[in-house]
Subunit: 133 residues, 6 copies
């Protein structure tokens, strides 16, 4: 299996509900370094999984609405803990939809899976990986 | 599959037996950067795999007895080459036991697998990953 | 000149006032990786600038009150833009005071200068360095 | 499953054919940081997957002919886009052959799979992983 | 002294003349990670050295003409070894001119110095630092 | 001022004497990532501070005798705490001598200073910098 992975980052505020979060129940924030890996069984005729420039743009399109936001105030996240794990899935869902529609410049059926990795600090990160089909 | 991963490090001395190790047969040492990833099919109601703080504590509990040790003098490692690969398994076994017993704050059955990564230098590392059930 | 440097991190929310900040005028957040370097002309009789463990504790003592905070709501930062640069100086002032008082375990006169580095993302950071005397 | 991974790097020139590459159709270059991970179900009697020193040598043997080369002028790459993804496979094929022949110092049947990762910049990388048997 | 530093990267081809370069006399290439640090004695009324966004743009303006280029074919570099060290100075000269003209959004006299760092691989980099006045 | 910096690493065992070291008084070990930066006011006619390949060799020549050693058993370190700071100076002294003798391929008088950085973990490092003349 081949993969190509690109990264970007966002700087957001948020808070969590639930005793398990301890001090992170308070309004705080994070720099999230977000990577998306597109996996494919075969390279396309150009010799790529998907174009790295286009992958960067697709990731940026998902992240731009979140940049410099207080996630607690984003309507679609109302009542949700926007944990690092949650964000891996949020980004996955958007990029999976884009990939299925062929927006990465390749027939979506040829992209087998996507993995999203979100690092919140030098010592903690989360990822989500799932097949597209 | 979701994963959450945290890291810590230890600074130990050890030596290896076996011609394959060349100069590493002598008593030397390493800073091992150790990461544990907990994998789960689903997030819990808080929106997490396991709490990152608790994951750090569980990893620290396994690593603390090894910090600043000469592994050649640790009774449980007698006669064993404490290679980077061996240590991935040692840490795995302890954290797998903790996870199965629910010590990560979640029913152990909901944690599908654990991956331990140990980096010994900027250019070499090892990992061990296995399902818990 | 010798230096010894240790790192920790904080995850905070804040907002900025001033058109120059563009979208960062909104409430957002950051993971700040904060390093402190203590500089000295000579090593002490133990062969160190200051003890690395003690340096970690001194840095932690300055950072703990900021962890998981909304800096906009911290009284001492009222009316201040808590920029990356500002935070380098905030941490410097506290650690310079600690060093001058001998709290790093060495006569403060033997510590020549302190440098604080704060990274806000993989592609941006700030630092502040000044002599102590 | 265990893995041991080592890294090296090459600095090469190349160009791509295909409108998808945009400005990268011009003759440009890259520092490629190349990692190889050898995966095995079991450790050998020494407690290793393969010797890290030998793994470094095997990787170096594949990379040396590429170091400081213009890949456009390498006969075996004639008419090929030497993309990051392509190079993961090129390195895989050579190291898979070496592993199957036992050149890593272990019966090739005991090495289950190889993963090659090639980073082209701090924000983009590719990998290829496949079983050996 | 305060500093704020931002980074970007370029992927270029080039060759060197001179026996000292050994195999790097051949046409090869590099990913150069380029950082610029602006140094100032005092923060401006916003609490910054210069705006990080504007610093990124200024660096990008200098690097864009070099991206995906064969530096051997760039007229202004004719007859020059475009070494890592040379590039630190090339970037310095352009950003020093921009800073002196106030293009970083601050009276150039308030920027004391600039440091350019160029990393060519995980194990080699160069920098150039000089006062602006 | 220009600088060129290269890195290598060693994996050693050692112990410290002195209550300040706490648990590090026991025999333990470290992976030390060691960097040397050569500083010069001017580039040579080739456009370099010193050749990066030659800098790597000079650093390797100093580090090779320490690789895979128990520093407590190295005669020249008898009675000395081989702290991270101490090692910055040890490496400095050897490379300063080499540079003064012209062994870096350039008249030693043209190398203004050397800085040695030794990282012992992801969160702690030391450095030593001094002029050569």
């Amino acid at each position: 299996m081949y993969a190509v992975e690109v990264s970007d980052h966002i700087m957001i505020a948020h808070s969590f509900r639930g005793a398990v979060f301890g001090p992170a129940q308070a309004l705080h924030g994070a720099t999230f370094v977000v990577s998306v890996a597109f996996l494919a069984e075969r390279l396309d005729p150009n010799g790529i999984v998907v174009d790295i420039g286009r992958a960067h743009e697709a990731l940026k399109a998902v992240l731009d609405p979140l940049k410099y936001q207080n996630l607690d105030a984003v309507p679609q996240f109302k009542g949700v803990n926007t944990t690092t794990e949650f964000l891996t899935r949020h980004v996955f869902d958007h990029l999976a939809a884009a990939a299925r529609k062929g927006e990465l410049g390749r027939d979506g059926r040829e992209i087998a899976a996507i993995r999203i990795t979100v690092a919140e600090s030098p010592s903690a990160r989360a990822w989500y990986e799932a097949p597209l089909w």
